[in-house]
Symmetry: C2
Amino acid sequence: MTKTKNTAKAKTSVGQGRIRKENKKRILQAAEKVFAANGFRGATTADIADEAGLPKANIHYYFGTKAKLYRTVIDDIVELWLSSFREITENDDPASTLADYIRAKMELSKNRPEASRVFANELIRGAPRIKPYLSGELKDWVDYKSAILDKWIEQGKMAPVDSRKLIFHIWAMTQTWADFEVQWAAVLGREGSLENIDYEDATNAIITTVLRTCGLLPLPARKTDIEMPIAGL
Amino acid sequence: MTKTKNTAKAKTSVGQGRIRKENKKRILQAAEKVFAANGFRGATTADIADEAGLPKANIHYYFGTKAKLYRTVIDDIVELWLSSFREITENDDPASTLADYIRAKMELSKNRPEASRVFANELIRGAPRIKPYLSGELKDWVDYKSAILDKWIEQGKMAPVDSRKLIFHIWAMTQTWADFEVQWAAVLGREGSLENIDYEDATNAIITTVLRTCGLLPLPARKTDIEMPIAGL
DNA sequence: TCAAAATCTGACCAAACGGTCAAGTTTAAT
DNA sequence: ATTAAACTTGACCGTTTGGTCAGATTTTGA
């Protein structure tokens, strides 16, 4: 409970100081790392303290309990997630809008992979602490965006697709590059972690896949030296 | 160390009995569930024992340590993973081969979601216990399959794509339905968990996406009542 | 039938856990 | 310079953790 002493004149919440702001930031960064790598139950306050370079008691001074610290980390990530995509309307161009969205999500995967992993951890465990957010804000967001996709389809601006599933699959393809980075790095033969070119190639591959799914890219040419026996067109 | 007493005549490894086999299976099933829901560090042997309906000491009697039990669970999953896809050759038909593969992966996501989640947990944590498998067997598998895709492309059987990334994205799209089931259920407005129709729709959506990406499906028709202002074809 | 092997289990242990606290030091406003 | 508020920290506490073990019970093969 942050021990607000409130000795006089209702100086609500202790938290103004420069030191406070800096330390909370340091702890939150350390916590994101440790929670990403171990989940809520597997993370220890001692690990977080070590990562932040502070004594353990300091973590409790600023955040009270491990659970409250975790909530703060999660809330920050949700805010980042929802705020990082520009508004779209039914008058926008489908191809460039989808491409921009994919690029934005891949930027997040590349620059804030730990945030993505904290979220992934929470989901794998059945989302005990964020289920209301999933069936609330997030559902609303998806309902709204998929309605715009459906409008585009109705207007003949793009081919008919299951718009909700398309959004899910864009998330799956973009976030896999953050959540399972170590797997893709190993399979691609990289030492340690992915390189810039990998993110670029992946971004282009996803954009191609999504735009072709929506009929927004010309059908790709095939090599024509040999005749092609199967599958329409 | 399973306490092989070896009292005489080298009867290597105690493990023949019916009881032994049954109990190990029960424990492994319980362990998969608990590890999936909590990760290695977050899972407790007491939880696993409760889930299996056995006293905790029993778990250690059969598997020694938590780490060895976890290894066994992981190894079983890896075997399941690699054994569950039929062999393919460059003479196969791309469209039906890819569709079959996607269906097989979605069956696994639906029927063995916990296995997928154990694996996801391990990857999110940086795969400390399975990195050799990733850059060994798994890399070989992907190298081999992507080479076949590349042959198909060369033969003009399908459009040019980044074959490795295509495989990654098929995994991402199929496994997201196991790993993050709770998220999709919440966004789709389901109570509790996904329904059969959701898996079917998702399977079809993924197949459509992949085949269109590879130029193996005719370009989808658009609604033509209004003229279409943008983006080629 | 009977004894050796396998299985079972409550009680127990040292280590690690989340969290508390009193006593100290630093900061900042007057 | 004074001092109250903010910050820091090692030591500590009750609980939970992974793992052990001795002794009881059941299974198995001859």
